[in-house]
Amino acid sequence: MACSSSALRTISSSSAKLARSSGSASGSPPKTLLPFNLSTPFLPKLAAASPLSSSSRQSLSALPRRSFSCKSQANPAGDSTPGKVQELCVYEINERDRGSPAILKLSQKPVNSLGDLVPFSNKLYSGDLQKRVGITAGICILIQNKPEKKGDRYEAVFSFYFGDYGHIAVQGPYLTYEDTYLAVTGGSGIFEGATGQVKLQQLIFPFKLFYTFYLKGVKDLPAELLGKSVPPSPSVEPSPAAKACEPQATIANFTD
């Protein structure tokens, strides 16, 4: 969720969010998350979507036994090897040409307060910054202002659109002062049945963000989305061709 100050249509006075000048998010580790171990097939919350582990923790102990059963249903989601996690990186950049974000100060208080809503939509580029893939679109619901952290907590519910490939839906915390992990709640197209989580790293608040998806339950992702990512830093920029949406620098029917 990158917010733009100039294109910003603040419905009322702009929030403390815009006044923040700090760039990259703090290095503090994501809250509460397990030390992320990609080989662990069972991230308790995230594995819940797969039929294998839904609704019962017994499945955790049942897993090793599957190989003995007559029909080894090896693919809970059917498409990739069980527990296989695919990483996908993208950059979300607010180029201030989409009227985003729209800060709705519905709380009617001068300071950011519960009740404020921030619908937004920004441009999405591949991790190697060579291709424009689409957009993000959704809403941030302000939960709490944290004066001591000079930032806010939002609940973010939004989607990443990848043109003809489909979309990924996510939900989770957005803290303007540190990195977070959001839940991947689903997807369509090649991302159908996706589960997992996505790490959000802010590079320049609120214009540039870098996301690392850890996806399970999807088929192998196409190579053009899996190019070697540009290491995130405040000065990264998409290639001029990608910015200009030249045909060779976009994916098929990139979302615009």
Partner: protein, 255 residues
């Protein structure tokens, strides 16, 4: 809830109500294979593998498992591994629920980012013989396309099926073309569901036809799986379903 101008820019969702779902354990048990009350869903799956009414594969698996281990540990995969079930429903705005509520929070004359549209409409089975419940949620306007005469919304909402439970979805709603949304989860018989749903607009914004492609749940009950009426502008629910006559509704259909 403020009733909105039903202009061409409004999405389908329309109707305000507060559905109260009172899950009757007894009624649910008639729907569930194992006659277990709904809350202990885990036990349900346990019984599913030990009772009949399951495909033969399940009993074969059970036998094998019982041979190797003494406890008939239910196989999570066997009842519902990767099988995709298609479920069709119609969403219809009968303009009697104050929906949609077009909140023009952008304060601009043309639809713009910032506008929010909470909505709720009535839900009917695909064969239009039963009233199932309602849809309810929010459309967030993302972009207006003057050349297409339409808009892109991010839609986040649920489909309520009375005592059966609900399905939650999230994804794109384009007023000018069909889209696929992600199924993010569900409750009741839809617990643990994943997949996608195809949205087809029939009469903008009053009638929509949905085809769910659901994975990870037990076989859906027959009364939801009747042969769908092919979508066309003139389709209408059966008079009995519209009138919510008892034989033409889902159990405790969501109002």
């Amino acid at each position: 809830m403020a009733s909105a101008t039903i202009s061409s820019s409004n999405p389908s969702g329309l109707a305000s109500s507060s559905p109260s779902l009172h899950r009757q354990a007894k009624e649910i048990s008639t729907l569930n294979l194992s006659c277990q009350p709904l809350p202990p869903r885990r036990n349900l799956k346990l019984y599913t593998t030990t009772r009949r009414e399951t495909p033969s594969t399940r009993s074969a698996k059970l036998t094998t498992r019982a041979f190797f281990w003494n406890k008939p540990k239910p196989s999570r995969e066997a009842p519902k591994p990767t099988k995709v079930q298609e479920l069709s429903v119609y969403e219809i705005n009968e303009r009697d629920r104050g929906s949609p509520a077009y909140l023009r929070l952008s304060q601009k004359a043309v639809n713009s980012l910032g506008d929010l549209v909470p909505f709720t409409n009535k839900l009917y089975s695909g064969d239009l013989q039963r009233r199932l419940g309602v849809t309810s949620g929010l459309c967030i306007l993302i972009q207006h396309f003057p050349d297409k005469g339409g808009d892109r919304y991010e839609a986040i909402y649920s489909f309520y099926f009375g005592d059966y439970g609900h399905i939650s979805v999230q994804g794109p709603y384009l007023t000018y073309q069909d889209t696929f949304l992600a199924v993010t989860g569900g409750s009741g018989i839809f617990e643990g569901v994943s997949g996608t749903v195809k949205l087809q607009q029939i009469v903008f914004p009053f009638k929509l036809f949905y085809t769910f492609y659901l994975k990870g749940i037990p076989n859906l009950p027959a009364e939801l799986m009747g042969k769908p009426v092919p979508p066309s502008p003139g389709v209408e629910p059966s008079p009995a379903a519209k009138a919510c006559e008892p034989h033409a509704t889902a159990p405790n259909f969501t109002k």
